[in-house]
Symmetry: C2
Subunit: 459 residues, 2 copies
């Protein structure tokens, strides 16, 4: 679970898609600074308010606790398709009324879909918050879909798939790696959907999904900005509060993984690949599923191994040995069921993928055997905490932290205490995390190559 599709709508038909997977990776890490209010309306809608009075604007987000991992098998892409269709208007606010109002007030809007959630947000002048809430509450249950708007939007989504996946060898490899990493869990399914299944989605599918999952008791509203909790509460009750529950909340009981016992590889060859690369994803716990301290140790481990130019992978493979053009590691911990820990590298011309992979393995083996230094631990912790503090500066980032965390089973308190928990990570815990979780049997290694040569294809 790390694919997030942000849809930025610039005009009626043009979609500009920005992948923010990286930003989302650390998306649940707000500091303990601001006063956060968290309450639930009588219809089950959760509301989080993070006041921030530096500018007279607010960011408003509604997060539905439903994503690609909740789709019926055979209907992949439905969560994302519905996200697009949510901009098609309601009986009360037909067509582009909502979007036009946001734009006329000088605001911005956006939407995104991931495996665990689907979200919509607006950044508007503070006096427009209640209006935006009324619009969003209206389209929670009032969406009107006709074949005339559904069919063209399906072509928009297919074009998005074309642009983002079909014409992007790295993204195609990522799809195939996810399918190989998850033997049973629906995180193996692409968020945008398998193309042949997207092609068959229709109005009935979208409406059934909408009616099942878009209900106040399955939603979280996050508001950050120049507003108080009391004001938000009053506005929320006057708008969202009027929406009746229309379905049970999403139980989110997905099939789980069997014991993973065999390392996998996936090799994607495409003539357009100019820079071969190797990447490996390990199946690891998420912040939600990890034992106490474990996901924080994985955060530190990813930083020590592979973040910035001072990390082990970069320093050893790129700088010291000079065999790689790039190398790094990441941990995307914000997920309901499982998370991925990734390592990657791209060989310099004249170096093979296997040499880079062996280099990565040696570095991992060294951490497993000897742990990390006190200096590495301190630097990683300081940097992670500083990043979180700096990021609080951004209203939308703050809102995203809380929304993503709550939509994946975390609590407000978990978000607030994250820096403290990072501070508590020990070098032993990092070594233990490497030993426990960087287990090849629970991994898939991807090779992105220009052509299937015996060496590169590992035949």
């Amino acid at each position: 679970m790390s694919q997030i599709y942000w849809s930025m709508r610039l005009s009626k038909v043009l979609l500009l898609i920005v992948a923010l997977a990286g930003a989302a990776a650390s998306a649940a890490h707000a500091g303990s600074g601001p006063d956060v209010a968290h309450f639930t309306l009588s219809n089950g809608l959760e509301v989080v308010v993070v006041p921030d009075h530096r500018a007279p604007v607010v960011t408003h987000m509604v997060w539905y606790k439903v994503g690609a991992a909740d789709e019926t098998p055979g209907k992949s892409g439905l969560a994302h398709f519905l996200e697009h269709l949510m901009f098609k208007g309601t009986e009360k606010n037909p067509g582009q009324t909502f979007s036009r109002q946001v734009a006329e007030g000088g605001g911005q809007e956006n939407a995104f879909t991931a495996s665990d959630y689907t979200g919509f947000f607006q950044r508007v002048p503070r006096e427009h918050l209640k209006e935006v809430m009324a619009f969003e509450a209206d389209r929670m249950t009032g969406l009107v879909l006709t074949d005339e708007v559904v069919r063209p939007e399906l072509n928009v989504v297919l074009e998005e798939q074309n642009m983002r996946i079909a014409n992007n060898p790295g993204a195609r490899l990522g799809e195939q790696m996810d399918a190989a990493l998850y033997l049973n869990h629906p995180y193996g399914r692409p968020v945008i959907g398998w193309r042949h299944e997207i092609e068959k989605l229709d109005r009935d599918d979208a409406l059934a999904f909408y009616r099942r999952f878009y209900t106040p008791n399955n939603a979280i509203v996050v508001v950050t900005g120049d507003i108080t909790a009391d004001e938000v509460k009053a506005d929320a009750e006057a708008t969202y509060g009027k929406v009746a529950e229309r379905a049970p909340s999403n139980p989110r009981q997905r099939p789980t993984e069997p014991v993973q016992q065999a390392p996998r590889t996936v090799t994607l060859a495409d003539a357009r690949v100019e820079e071969p690369s190797i990447s490996r994803d390990y199946l690891v716990p998420s912040e939600t599923t990890a034992k106490s301290g474990e996901s924080e140790a994985l955060d530190v481990l990813a930083h020590v191994l592979g973040s910035g130019e001072d990390c082990r992978l970069y320093r050893i493979l790129v700088v010291d040995k000079g065999i790689a053009l790039s190398a790094g590691a990441y941990y995307t911990g914000t997920a309901l069921d499982y998370a991925k820990f990734g390592v990657y590298g791209a060989p310099k011309p004249g170096t093979t993928l296997r040499q880079v992979e062996a280099g990565i393995d040696a570095i991992i083996d060294d951490v497993v055997a000897h742990g990390i230094t006190a200096d590495e631990l301190d630097r990683a912790k300081n940097r992670l905490i500083a990043d979180a503090v700096y990021a609080e500066d951004n209203q939308a980032t703050l809102a995203r932290w809380y929304g993503a965390a709550l939509a994946t089973g975390q609590t407000v308190d978990m978000v607030r205490t994250w820096p403290d928990r990072i501070r508590a990570v020990t070098a032993d815990a990092v070594q233990q995390a490497a030993r426990t979780w960087l287990d090849r049997r629970k991994s898939v290694t991807g090779y992105l190559v220009k052509s299937l040569q015996p060496e590169e294809s590992h035949s």
Copy 2:
């Protein structure tokens, strides 16, 4: 799709399981010899009768068009678990009444589960046929399940999983390879189920599955032996004919595969592995989904490449080069949605898996480039047809051919004309099949090794 679980019940609790995947591979290939009757009762039950008057016995099978690929995600193993529970008795025939009657009459019984179907059979003296039909019709809808019988049977199934899979490195590799071969289709799910999901199955799951899928309009009865079609028809109407439809037939619309674009590998290491081996499965059409002539060409191709000691793989790798202990190929074409074409080899001590794999690849490349000889074509066709003719000698095999074919979307006519269609295969068609379908991008290669060494693990 090639896993078939045959359950041979020797006593109340002891199950002896015999894997007959190999036998099943050619299971839909009856000759055009016997007169076959095929009719449908008014409640939708299909009946196939293959008279065979050499001995005063009959083989009676009922095939339900439901298997592991029809399970709800998260409930894997349910089809097989229900197969076990079908021996727990009905209100009318409690406990082991049915099994005892079969045994007392000198008969045999058995049951099996696969991805596409679940079946039950008895071999009994001809005068017991109607009685057996009455028993089987009774348990089509009359099964009584209490927690007292369900819970111990779950332990039996778990022990079966232990014996067949958990303690068998090759079977574990097979599970992981299937999961990697199928990116989206439920054939990636083990027929016996993922262990952690089997553990959670209960009475309610079993009864819901039973009520949904065990209905006359979702079943096929096959009778072979010393009996006429008219006699079977009269008996079937007097027994099965009284069972009302209780659910719609199984629509069998499973999620389909996306375009497969990246070769995969899976490496399973286990200290018990004494003989390392490499095997590769290609995703190919089944007899049901193939274009005209294509599955027959794959049958011939599998035979030329890898059946017997005269096949290319054995001759070149074992005899001529002396690098392998064994080598072969197979095609398991009897399936509703997809089939597998497999190649495999085990290196001689001192030879690496990679050398054997390279040898296999060179042999495949040669067939793709230069085709097969007229002599190879003739020998393969003669042998395949002779095998089918000889196998008709066995009543149970005959019944299995028709049952497996009809349960996977074939027709009686397809079974009858199979030898003619094999005769029509040309060398060009075989070469074309190799070129089209032995495509690494649609394959998974499995390595069974003693330990994850860099060379063997392809790191």
